[in-house]
């Protein structure tokens, strides 16, 4: 695959694919990621061991992404939840510790795909307010690095000088801030948030 060298990221997983990787990525961001809050809720309700939840999510995303490379599903929401359900069924079977009725229950789980979704499009000030609330929930130092980095536009080095802490520490805070902020954004849809 010498020809793939420059577009490594695009070509790496797409052997035999029918849909281009960039198109799948755009589709994934637009259609699948906004379902994350509902998906996590579904996984949490239907899987006992909560420490597996993130791995389950990863597995769902990988399965959905792989299928999308073969052709974009027409009804993304239904497809994501069907994938999640099938994954849980597989896991129950593999784990071989749950009585067989649990599988039947899961197979009867059709409702998930019909659950009301969060508003996918949130406009200007709502989104800004939501982001602000997410920012306020970061630990203080972590929050300050994000304020300086994202709002003030400073680099890692400049933040380190401003705050008088080591660059490596700033890097750690920033990475954690990014993760936390993104997780908050994905895990709560503004429309289902509790009133403040």
């Amino acid at each position: 695959m010498v020809e793939g060298m420059d577009n490594h990221r695009d070509m790496a997983h797409s052997q035999g694919a029918h849909v281009n990787a960039p198109e799948v990525r755009l589709w994934f961001v637009r259609e699948v990621l906004p379902l994350e809050a509902a998906l996590m809720q579904f996984l949490q309700h239907n899987w006992r061991n909560q420490s597996d939840i993130f791995d389950l999510r990863q597995e769902v995303y990988m399965r959905v992404y792989k299928s999308a490379l073969e052709g974009l599903p027409e009804r993304p929401r239904q497809f994501v939840f069907a994938t999640a359900r099938n994954l849980l069924i597989d896991c129950v079977r593999r784990a071989n510790i749950v009585p067989i009725e649990a599988v039947a229950d899961l197979e009867a789980l059709e409702t998930a795909a019909d659950m009301p979704g969060p508003d996918r499009v949130t406009q200007g000030r709502d989104e800004l307010r939501h982001l602000q609330a997410a920012l306020d929930r970061l630990p203080p130092q972590c929050r300050q690095t994000v304020v300086l980095g994202r709002i003030e536009g400073l680099s890692r080095r400049e933040i380190s000088e401003r705050m008088g802490i080591a660059e490596q520490t700033v890097a750690k805070y920033l990475a954690r801030g990014m993760r936390t902020l993104v997780n908050i954004l994905y895990s709560e849809a503004p429309s289902v948030r509790r009133p403040e």
């Binding site: 010498v2 020809e3 793939g4 060298m5 420059d6 577009n7 490594h8 990221r9 695009d10 070509m11 790496a12 997983h13 281009n20 990787a21 960039p22 198109e23 755009l26 961001v29 006992r48 597996d52 993130f54 791995d55 990863q58 597995e59 990988m62 992404y65 896991c91 593999r94 784990a95 510790i97 200007g124 989104e127 800004l128 982001l131 602000q132 920012l135 306020d136 630990p139 203080p140 130092q141 300050q144 304020v147 980095g149 994202r150 709002i151 003030e152 536009g153 890692r156 401003r162 705050m163 890097a171 920033l174 990475a175 990014m178 993760r179 902020l181 993104v182 997780n183 954004l185 994905y186």
Partner: protein
């Protein structure tokens, strides 16, 4: 239920955040990019974790709108100098209080950003106003978004703009000596060394030239118009829907040739790849070709030249030389 999973999703997420942090806040070299690409190629889990984080982080772009206005600067200066847990807590309160009273002054200090893509890379940016800009290979775009202005400069490369129209804050894009003023639009701008193309897909836009040498200073573009500016001229051509869709094919990772000369096709491929196609024989450079190719797939193109056109193809280390 242990043993069922590697329980590594959180580790992968942490690694992805470290890559994203480095790319965003530290110096970023070609070697860094190669290392990131290698990490991404290691597993689909890596790729998805990074994609998820990158898309989420792009949404926080809007936070830049929280930049305090000039009058709130002293508050910020104090905030910067504070240290420690207590100070951080106090800072949070000060900032929140500040924001409350600052109110709609949020947007008064424009936020500036530079977005770049490397060779073969593409990137989608969502601005705070909901406008979406897609950058093609080898592109540099500067943006300045403030309360009273929305401004961008295409320094080089190609970008597709899908702009949310705001009557009081028109979106202007400067490129070379020209300015595109959006009147509610989807448009494409492509800058080559000696040639500039603006294709209007939807809505209306005005193209103005700042160069006094150019005869026609301003044109109003309607869908299907392609304005072509060279060093000394500005003209508008009509393009068919099919031609426009071919021009936008890069958004799907492909390039489409329709009665394109071999020389132009090679130049197009060379925009995306470091392994360059060289047409060594001037006699064949004008030969027309048709077809749709993956932008990164140089060898598929070479194969076509060899098998269909019957040309001689020589694979060298950094080049593919095509001759009769």
């Amino acid at each position: 239920m242990s043993g069922l999973f590697a329980n590594n999703a959180l580790d992968v997420e942490e690694q992805a955040s470290e890559w994203l942090e480095r790319r965003q806040f530290s110096s970023w070299t070609a070697q860094d990019k190669a290392a990131l690409d290698a990490w991404l190629a290691q597993s689909l889990a890596h790729e998805i974790a990074f994609l998820r984080l990158e898309a989420g982080w792009d949404r926080t772009e809007r936070l830049a709108a929280l930049r305090p206005s000039v009058s709130a600067r002293p508050v910020l200066a104090r905030l910067r100098n504070m240290r420690g847990r207590l100070a951080g807590f106090a800072a949070a309160i000060v900032l929140m209080a500040g924001l409350g009273s600052v109110g709609f002054h949020y947007l008064s200090a424009p936020s500036e950003h530079v977005f770049t893509t490397a060779l073969g890379e593409q990137r989608t940016i969502t601005l705070g106003d909901g406008s979406v800009i897609e950058l093609n290979t080898g592109t540099v775009l500067r943006t300045r978004i403030g309360r009273n202005e929305r401004y961008a400069e295409l320094v080089r490369g190609e970008a597709f703009f899908n702009i949310v129209h705001e009557g009081k804050r028109p979106f202007t894009v400067d490129v070379a000596k020209h300015r595109v003023i959006d009147l509610g639009t989807k448009f494409l701008i492509r800058k080559n060394p000696n040639r500039l193309e603006v294709a209007l897909i939807e809505g209306r836009a005005e193209l103005k030239s700042a160069d006094p040498e150019i005869q026609q200073h301003s044109v109003l573009l309607t869908p299907g118009d392609v304005a072509v500016a060279s060093v000394s001229s500005l003209s508008v051509e009509r393009a068919t829907a099919r031609e426009i869709s071919n021009t936008l094919a890069w958004q799907k990772g492909v390039i489409v040739f329709n009665n394109t000369t071999l020389a132009d096709a090679a130049a197009e491929f060379n925009r995306y790849n470091s392994r360059k196609i060289v047409i060594a024989d001037p006699d064949i450079a004008g030969q027309a070709i048709y077809g749709t190719f993956q932008a990164g797939n140089v060898t598929a193109f070479a194969r076509l030249a060899q098998d269909v056109l019957g040309l001689h193809v020589e694979n060298r280390d950094r080049q593919i030389v095509i001759s009769r």
